[in-house]
Symmetry: C2
Amino acid sequence: MPLGLLTDLYELTMAAGYVAAGKDREKATFELFVRRLPPGRNYLVAAGLRQAVEYLLRLTYSEEEIAYLQALVAFQNAPAGFWEALRNFRFTGDVFAVPEGTPVFAGEPLLTVRAPIVEAQIPETYLLATVGFQTMVASKAARVVQAARGKAVVEFGTRRAHSPEAGVLAARAAYIGGCIGTSNTEAGFRYGIPVYGTAAHSWVQSFATETEAFEQLQNLLGSSTVYLVDTYDAVEGTRHAARLGSPLWGIRLDSGDLEEQSRAARRILNEAGLTEAKIMASGDLNEARIRRLEQAGAPIDAYGVGTELSTSADAPALSVVYKLAEIQRNGERRFGVKLSSEKETVPGVKQVFRHCDHDVIGLVWECPGCGSDQSPEPLLRPVILRGEPVEEWPELRVVREKAKAAVSRLPEACQSLEAGSEPYRVEWSEELRGLEAQVRAGLRKAES
Amino acid sequence: MPLGLLTDLYELTMAAGYVAAGKDREKATFELFVRRLPPGRNYLVAAGLRQAVEYLLRLTYSEEEIAYLQALVAFQNAPAGFWEALRNFRFTGDVFAVPEGTPVFAGEPLLTVRAPIVEAQIPETYLLATVGFQTMVASKAARVVQAARGKAVVEFGTRRAHSPEAGVLAARAAYIGGCIGTSNTEAGFRYGIPVYGTAAHSWVQSFATETEAFEQLQNLLGSSTVYLVDTYDAVEGTRHAARLGSPLWGIRLDSGDLEEQSRAARRILNEAGLTEAKIMASGDLNEARIRRLEQAGAPIDAYGVGTELSTSADAPALSVVYKLAEIQRNGERRFGVKLSSEKETVPGVKQVFRHCDHDVIGLVWECPGCGSDQSPEPLLRPVILRGEPVEEWPELRVVREKAKAAVSRLPEACQSLEAGSEPYRVEWSEELRGLEAQVRAGLRKAES
């Protein structure tokens, strides 16, 4: 997979400009964070950090890619040193990240990149698309799983994902967010995620009768058979399945009034003595519809969620940004700040200090609240130091368990599916407030 | 890029089942279409068909992938013939497709796959995610471009796309839909799409003053310099840019009230004698916001559109499906139909016949309206025959021009940004209606 050019052109023109301006020895620190929680969300679940780090460790330029850039108007004045920088490109900096599966909030850095400015600038676009997307889907999955109140949720959304590869990554993120698995076979192969699936409507259609289709499926799948019963009529389909009896796992309903149909199906299965047979529901489900089904006491044992999950349909993008926090030249520090309306940023390299019921965003060199009885947990940890990966990645299964436990420890209002009247408390340290005031004052002076 | 497993598990279990049931010699025809237009859309622009075809021509299974499947519970009863089928997998069927850039409507097949049932079933998931995503983005782009009334629109959305690869494909689709280019350098490299970009806020922040940052950018980019002026204050920033004078392309506004700021910027540039300098606007733009700016007569010369375009934020998924239309065994034809509530499908292999102001969906062997003065244009054309590609792909530039012309020929109500009170007329041929009635009647008989 080519990586070098998978970035916005302006990252590369800036890189050329940094070299031209003699700034390429300057060390920049960028922070990746979400500006605002999307409507209805009270927390996010960090994900995609592993793919971000793997990208940084593999990022290089081929001669063909360099030749393509050399032909562009934008690089006609680019200095020779820029082409050398691309030819020898290797990420040599440090990266700090919040572990995948950690609940995070607006303004909290999920990823901090400190490197020579060219190396830190170019990855912006890829890092945003990687961390933003997976964090968005993991966060959506956590909501869907919460609505299902302990019942299994399987991710079914690759077909409506934004490209097949997005489907694989959505499956990964949904698993981190609490799904028990995915229909995406590549995600199973690549990441060891449990995979699920039996047969679609086309299976039923391809046989002369539904009963013949069901018999053949039972022959193949035995006790893991799931009959998709709604190709022609869900009640009739359930009867056809019930008539075949064991072995089976159960049936799947994929259209219509799922509450009514699940009750009818449960009766039919019970009357046939198949009290152990399960009912799975799918078809345009999301957290709100699942909650309604659960509140109504629909006899559904498992949910399949597709489009809404793989696209985070009610909030299909996070306001994720990658902002310059600090720049160092010859030991002198300068702080990045942006004052654009509604897009302000806060200067300085930050750490997130998690207390039991709130977070404090402070500067990386301080430790607000440390030394008290309960020292807070700093969320950002080194994952790359001087271009070398720091440690092995945990198994995704473990990430998922940790995420589940962490979400369950959030304040109750925060776990609600509605936007909280009591949002999770995220404060700034006094030192961070002080630095911001100082930097803004300095800027006004420099430009006046 | 691995492809074989990039599908839903149930496609593979069905494939195993088809072999087990002795159905693998049956030839199936599947049709890919969009069930309903998303809210607010009057038409779609077909895209992604090239990637769909390239996938089919490259789809194979490695031994490692096969070994992964063999270890899954779902395949414990799979027949030896299934593993042979995967080992020798090569798509040998026929594919018909609506050319990229063609306006299409609900229910119209965009892609028809006719092949031995195993070969036709397995690609479902990948084809849906490929064609659905790009068609969605091309359709969104057409609306955004329409709102801009002839002014240039550049796609800026990779950072918020659903993974970096989705960003590359979104750039391609947005170009087909009418954007003049993209910020995504890989899309430029891979598809020859014009690329745009100069510098971000971090460029300005990295220098001690905005003026120094602007000077350095001008040195690098000369007459293609675009000053991003809103890092600290858009009006002040525009003054700093104006003071530097020519050469420049213009300035970019990325936050705040774009109408007010563009007027202020225009005045400042004109007063400095820079009447030729352009103003580009970006920042959470979509077709509605662009239309408002255009209606207000804001002096904006070009638009950059990111998140809303790459995610089709107001309609982030199409109801795209891949349904069995027909199955042939020993020369006998059977038609696929689905009666699930709100998810019905229509049997038979179809063709879309485009007349000057309406379409007729008919059966592939008929030609409703042919022989009259103005013969309709059949939209689906062969792109793969017996596993071999039929012709060269047109240049994307040509696809884009054709799309533009075709959209401009749609009825005026259809080109509106609001959902039409007069939707585009899509009829069924009498023969298609007849077949549907016949198949439904036959089904009731078979199951009773």
